[in-house]
């Protein structure tokens, strides 16, 4: 059992406290926007924001979310930065298969919250933990720069 705030609403999940947040979201709460990629915290497909910080939900147990605030891709639009990024993602036509993009946008949101005008090196560092097998990285860089501009 764990209680936390999910995308602005209080939720209770009746699962073992060691269950990763990822599977509580996908299988218990039926929020499938957060993706399973590796299960070992190396690809970023499962990234969610825990109190605003990006975490790997595939290795973070629901116990760690107790009483905390989780934001998933489904609620990113409600955030000014997240909304600007999603709009830039669409303008730059970033996704190919699209599978990793929830995690990419979560990481980018965290980046623009801490660094308003990142340069390429800042972006590469902040996004280094997010794999994209389709190779959309050039467009990810461009979309982040563009979103930063629209937020300025």
């Amino acid at each position: 059992m764990a209680r936390f705030n999910l995308n602005g609403k209080p939720v209770t999940v009746d699962v073992d406290p060691a269950t990763p947040i990822l599977w509580a979201l996908r299988d218990t709460l039926q929020l499938t926007g957060t993706k399973f990629g590796c299960g070992v915290a190396v690809c970023g497909a499962c990234n969610v924001l825990l109190n605003g910080n990006p975490v790997r939900s595939c290795v973070t147990p629901v116990a760690a979310a107790e009483g905390q605030r989780i934001t998933t891709i489904e609620a990113v639009e409600a955030d000014r930065v997240g909304k600007a990024l999603q709009a830039a993602w669409i303008r730059h036509d970033v996704p190919q298969c699209g599978y990793c993009q929830s995690g990419q946008i979560i990481s980018a949101t965290a980046l623009l919250k801490t660094k308003k005008r990142p340069n390429d090196a800042d972006i590469d560092a902040a996004m280094a933990g997010n794999l994209c097998r389709c190779g959309t990285y050039a467009r990810i860089r461009a979309a982040i720069h563009d979103a930063a501009k629209t937020l300025a």
């Binding site: 699962v15 073992d16 269950t19 990763p20 599977w23 996908r26 299988d27 218990t28 039926q30 499938t32 926007g33 957060t34 993706k35 399973f36 990629g37 590796c38 299960g39 070992v40 190396v42 690809c43 497909a45 998933t72 891709i73 489904e74 990113v76 639009e77 999603q86 993602w89 669409i90 036509d93 970033v94 996704p95 190919q96 298969c97 699209g98 599978y99 990793c100 993009q101 929830s102 946008i105 390429d120 972006i123 590469d124 996004m127 280094a128 997010n130 794999l131 994209c132 097998r133 389709c134 190779g135 959309t136 990285y137 050039a138 467009r139 990810i140 860089r141």
Partner: protein
């Protein structure tokens, strides 16, 4: 392209569902499922009257277009979209001829159905970069036929001649009368499908040729795009399997007591009859996490006594030995003829290349949802070869293939992994469903691989060794080119063998060498060793290793003869390969190659290669940082005939190139020890990350109005050799093994 002719025959003979039967069922199912669908009624009636069998896929708009009352146009894509953009491209082509309002156009992956067979291959599949190449004309005609039905309906309703009816942006009009597609859909539905239609003059295109955002982009940017892994059926259970550590391994015994004690685990099943005769143990649970914990709690004793256990260093040694021995002849010129010439050559270049097994590693781990009620089977997965998958499931379950339905879903990446002639993961899903039913259960199952299952699941790009001996005369002219390739055959033992393995030579091994455009006397031989590691096509297939070998060898000759690598390529291409020349010249001109001086420590790297009907040339600007190449800028020249969606071309080239860059990175290799794959997750199997993406990557397309050629794969083969050629200029030594070592210099 040889694929087309050969595969056409394959489609008629491979494990294909009876087409006429499927056609009939599909029309009935579709018409029952969506009441407003344009054209469904007449074709459903035609089907009932036994007439649908006579209609070619292009004459069946009902199976491809449906229009809601609000005007929404839904296009059925006969290819699944794995990220290659074909869904949007095909919808653009249909919408162009239909004169639809693009903002109202949607696209969905078509289910299993005869109408969705590839018009060239005759079977339903996505692969070989063929979507627009094979279906451009088909989707144009479909759009034009649908448009003609609207025109006929409006003419009848308004009592005006058809030539006074116009269609523009989803609106049908004549004089002051106007109606949207949605308003006229019912009446259009009752019109006969015209036999002949006129297509637009390409000069009048308003969608084709315009950079267009993919249809799925907004959903994918909001976490709303649904993949196979997101399938949820009422009562569905999740299955995670304990797979044998060696390919073809069997279960000697297992203890499920601890697994069954995990909360949420429903049952544990022994699974027989998997790919290569393997067995496995399946844990069925309420959700992935308990299934995974259950799997981890299993104690399985494996029996791997009867299977070959591959060891990479030994395999390399035996491949090297084979590379020095006569093999199966795969060219007009024989090795014997070349031996004499080589003996008299003024200079020789001898080179050996090594390429590892590579996993496709799409971001979405392989999965398949299956519901089997003892009579009918429903599959939901990213089907890439529908007929093979359906035939396999039917055979395993002991039901007629007509009782198998496939609902295709978009793939979270694929790169070839979903198109398995042995249907490995669909076979597994069917065997699990069979065992589940035999155990007295009936709920649908979602079989989900972990990343480790996916990476260790085989079907890799084959481990490959090339050996070439090149003889030059005193003037520097190539007089002999003795070449041998050692690589497992992908197609031997598959339904494709009779058509694509000719005289013992697998076409997917030699492509890129046997058909070289260069004016050089290539004498080619192959060895196809049998190895207990399943292999498969991996984005651009044989070209992944042949382009690297050929394009770095061209540069070796250029260096040996003090020639400019671009000039030497132009010389060898002559005037018989204008598309190669155009792509290369465009990349050269746009990159500034030969025109501007590079910063100190940087070098140019050039490569050009044709695959899947398209030619891609790269000019890369590279330096070394602590012995590792840094690709600063890439300029691409692309010849893929008509550019339907220029943005999609740009993204496919950039993405394929990045995947090619990935093949050079230390750690980008699958290796085996005692038959066990040594990499288990992305910590040990390197994929390219954002820092590997060149800061500048410009894509230029040669203008053309000809039928589009492939774009999903052709961007991959020439990038690694372009980088290697730059490295050779910087270090004096060309890397002949992929991936590159940690330090090149």
């Amino acid at each position: 392209m040889y694929y087309s002719k050969l595969m056409q025959r394959v489609g008629r003979t491979a494990a294909a569902a009876p087409l006429a039967e499927l056609a009939r069922r599909d029309f009935l199912k579709l018409s029952a499922g969506s009441g407003f669908a344009l054209g469904l009624a007449p074709l459903a009636i035609a089907a009932d009257a036994g007439k649908s069998e006579g209609l070619k896929p292009t004459q069946m708009p009902a199976a491809f277009v449906s229009i809601e009352r609000d005007g929404t146009v839904t296009v059925q894509s006969n290819r699944i979209d794995m990220g290659q953009g074909s869904e949007t491209g095909l919808a653009m082509v249909l919408a162009e001829e239909l004169d639809a309002d693009w903002a109202t156009v949607r696209a969905v992956p078509a289910p299993l159905g005869a109408a969705y067979a590839d018009p060239m291959y005759g079977m339903q599949m996505s692969g070989g970069s063929t979507a627009l190449n094979h279906s451009y004309q088909q989707y144009r005609e479909l759009g034009a036929r649908t448009r003609a039905m609207f025109v006929a309906a409006a003419a009848a309703q308004w009592n005006v001649p058809p030539d006074q009816v116009k269609v523009a942006n989803g609106v049908v009009s004549s004089g002051t009368r106007r109606a949207g597609f949605g308003e006229l859909a019912d009446a259009a539905m009752r019109q006969p499908v015209p036999e002949k239609v006129a297509l637009k003059d390409p000069k009048a295109f308003r969608l084709i040729g315009k950079p267009t955002t993919r249809i799925a982009t907004p959903a994918a940017s909001r976490g709303q795009k649904s993949f196979g892994i997101d399938t949820r059926l009422p009562g569905m259970k999740t299955v995670v399997l304990a797979h044998a550590p060696v390919f073809g391994g069997k279960v000697a015994s297992f203890d499920a007591s601890k697994a069954k004690a995990v909360k949420g685990v429903v049952d544990v099943l022994r699974i027989d009859g998997l790919d290569r005769g393997a067995q496995a143990v399946a844990v069925v649970a309420d959700g992935y996490w308990p299934a995974k914990l259950g799997r981890d709690a299993l104690a399985v004793q494996w029996d791997v006594a009867g299977v070959e256990k591959v060891d990479t260093p030994q395999q390399l040694a035996s491949y090297r030995e084979l590379a020095g021995k006569p093999g199966i002849r795969a060219s007009k010129i024989s090795h014997a003829e070349q031996d004499a010439v080589l003996a008299g050559a003024a200079r020789r270049i001898t080179a050996e290349y090594v390429f590892p097994y590579l996993a496709h590693s799409p971001m979405e781990p392989m999965n398949c949802t299956i519901a089997f009620d003892g009579d009918r089977c429903r599959l939901i997965h990213a089907a890439q070869m529908h007929n093979v998958d359906a035939g396999t499931a039917a055979a395993v379950l002991g039901i007629p293939v007509e009782k198998v339905a496939i609902e295709s879903v978009p793939a979270g990446g694929g790169f070839g992994r979903h198109a398995v002639p042995a249907a490995d993961y669909v076979r597994e899903a069917a065997q699990v469903a069979k065992a589940w039913r035999a155990a007295g259960h009936s709920s649908p199952l979602h079989i989900q691989w972990s990343r480790e299952d996916d990476l260790r699941g085989g079907y890799y790009r084959p481990f490959t060794v090339h050996r070439a001996e090149i003889g030059l005369d005193a003037a520097g002219k190539v007089v002999a080119w003795k070449h041998r390739i050692v690589s497992q055959s992908i197609l031997t033992g598959s339904p494709f063998e009779p058509f694509m393995v000719k005289d013992g030579v697998d076409a997917t091994t030699v492509e890129g060498v046997s058909d070289t455009p260069y004016a050089i006397p290539v004498a080619l031989e192959v060895h196809h060793p049998k190895v207990n590691v399943p292999v498969l096509w991996w984005r651009s297939v044989g070209h992944t290793h042949t382009a690297y070998t050929m394009e770095t060898l061209v540069d070796e000759v250029a260096r040996a003869t003090n020639k400019d690598p671009v000039e030497l390529r132009r010389e060898w291409l002559g005037d018989k390969h204008p598309r190669h020349r155009a792509a290369l010249d465009l990349a050269v001109a746009k990159s500034g190659y030969g025109q501007r001086q590079l910063a100190a420590g940087r070098a140019w790297g050039v490569a050009v290669h044709e695959s899947f009907g398209s030619v891609v040339a790269y000019i890369a600007e590279v330096s070394l940082l602590e012995g590792a190449p840094v690709v600063h800028a890439v300029t691409a020249g692309v010849h893929c005939n008509l550019a339907v969606n220029p943005r999609s071309i740009e993204t496919q080239i950039q993405g394929a190139a990045l995947m090619g860059i990935g093949t050079t990175l230390p750690g980008a290799a699958i290796t085996l020890k005692d038959g066990v794959v040594q990499q288990s997750n992305w910590g040990e199997y390197t994929l390219a990350r954002i820092s590997h993406m060149p800061k500048r990557f410009d894509v230029h397309v040669v203008p053309s109005a000809d039928n589009p050629t492939g774009i999903g794969e052709p961007g991959l083969p020439p990038i690694a050799p372009a980088i290697a050629n730059a490295v050779a200029r910087l270090t004096g030594k060309v890397p002949r093994e992929l991936p590159f070592p940690e330090k090149l210099a």
